[in-house]
Symmetry: C2
């Protein structure tokens, strides 16, 4: 049976990477495959949105390098929120350099990403050294890596043989690469069903560009619905941004409305998952 | 005549982008096509190495996000050194996200890269929106962008049609994309000589992985000599790192030795260039 027909809880048992286990258990526990991408530049807005959406998500996706008033205290408060609301943290750093450099970028600098982000991601374009460089820092800390096998932007070059190579690279480093940022499942990509039976590998698929309303922005981003992404394309986690918190700044943040939107996406994503694994009827 | 057969000074006149003009004029003025990549994690080491190699380089390449004790004061001191020694600054950020995100990463966060780095770079993998997103911030400031058309690491996916697409993407945004990080010239890549006569476009090629001694590191980096890079492959700027400053930390930094190494690379790179443009005899 293909991995994505199993429950998240069953799949957690098949993973040896601690970050993959944590994510799958969190999804099961919170009945949420919703991740919220918090792309805000002020710490106060950033922490406020996370506190509001926290109860509804399995994961918070950050761009720590856009916070203009970042201090190490932000990380302490993010950790507290992660414990309070029980979510996994994913710094969407998109590492894309040679091994020696990404190891420094991951461990050092003012942001010290490896010390607090359970999961991070990388582009496979530099070749396998981007994985081994990050693994040299992240594996001892129990971290997990997602590779960008595809992108949701118009004219992306992560297609065809690029995607195949990304999956092969991940397959060769399964102890650290726990899944992909992609638009669909990657089972059997870069190999054949006969040489790799169903269920032997289980890459977790996180999918950005999810929205119930918009069809695109002015900067090349393209959107799809939770049902399409989870049910049709077999992805595991939907990543939603401004579709949930709007502008998300200062007085413009309507806490009740944001919570309502988060719950709406959580329900949509979870019901699509229940249909996928053939469970009896959706929950509300 | 292909652009790389002209002098750097002549080429400056053909560029309309201010960052490209600045770089080409600086190379001509200082008789140096040497860039030093300063990959150090302590501010004191970082600034000290830059002060030592500054007289010999046209450009300093930074990874500002690995400085563990970064404060805004580092940027002020970097700007002073840039003025003192007359070099261009290139933050090697390798942006690789959707347009909206890279615009925030470039302009905001604690590092505010666009405010001080004359040149930065991006992977073309997200598609054209990575360029337009960065251009929305960088063009009004007179900045320039390099695309990563190739990488010097083993197993890199930036080859074949990926490289062709990168060059086509650059060609469609010539007002902001001033050149490439690549291993060789990109003239006529992704097009035909007949549809694009020699000398119509002039992308500046900056090439990492240059060393007089080493053949590789343990993390997949591969090396070539300045002569091979400038003369055989037609690249314009050689990027050298630890080949010049060694470990570069604290007491381990032998100032005289580092200056000597920098001068050696500058001479090698410049003489290769003189041979290329057919100038009479090398300078020492």
């Amino acid at each position: 049976m293909s991995s994505h027909r199993k429950s998240y809880g069953q799949r957690a048992a098949d993973h040896s990477n601690p970050a993959a286990q944590l994510l799958l258990h969190t999804i099961e526990r919170k009945k949420s495959n919703l991740a919220v991408s918090v792309d805000l530049t002020k710490t106060s807005d950033f922490l406020k949105v996370i506190d509001v959406v926290g109860p509804y998500v399995c994961l918070i996706k950050t761009h720590i390098d856009i916070l203009e008033d970042f201090t190490p205290d932000v990380i302490e408060r993010l950790k507290l929120l992660s414990a309070k609301h029980d979510f996994v943290v994913f710094e969407d750093r998109k590492f894309a350099d040679i091994g020696n450099t990404v190891a420094l970028q991951y461990s050092s600098g003012v942001h010290k990403i490896a010390s607090w982000s359970h999961i991070t991601n990388a582009h496979p374009v530099p070749g396998p050294s981007v994985i081994t460089g990050l693994a040299s820092v992240g594996l001892p800390l129990g971290r997990g890596l997602l590779l960008l096998a595809q992108m949701s932007t118009e004219g992306s070059l992560a297609t065809g043989s690029y995607t195949d190579d990304a999956v092969r690279m991940a397959r060769a480093h399964r102890e650290f690469v726990i899944g992909f940022i992609a638009q669909r499942r990657m089972d059997h990509v870069g190999t054949s069903p006969s040489s790799l039976p169903d269920g032997v590998e289980d890459f977790i698929i996180l999918t950005p560009g999810v929205s119930l309303e918009m069809s695109g922005d002015s900067m090349g981003q393209q959107y799809r619905t939770p049902e399409k992404v989870i049910l049709e394309n077999g992805c595991d986690v939907i990543i939603v941004g401004r579709g949930i918190y709007g502008k998300g700044t200062g007085d413009a943040l309507d806490v009740g409305c944001v919570a309502l939107q988060a719950e709406k996406y959580r329900t949509e994503g979870w019901n699509a998952y229940l249909k996928r694994i053939g469970s009896t009827g959706p929950t509300s």
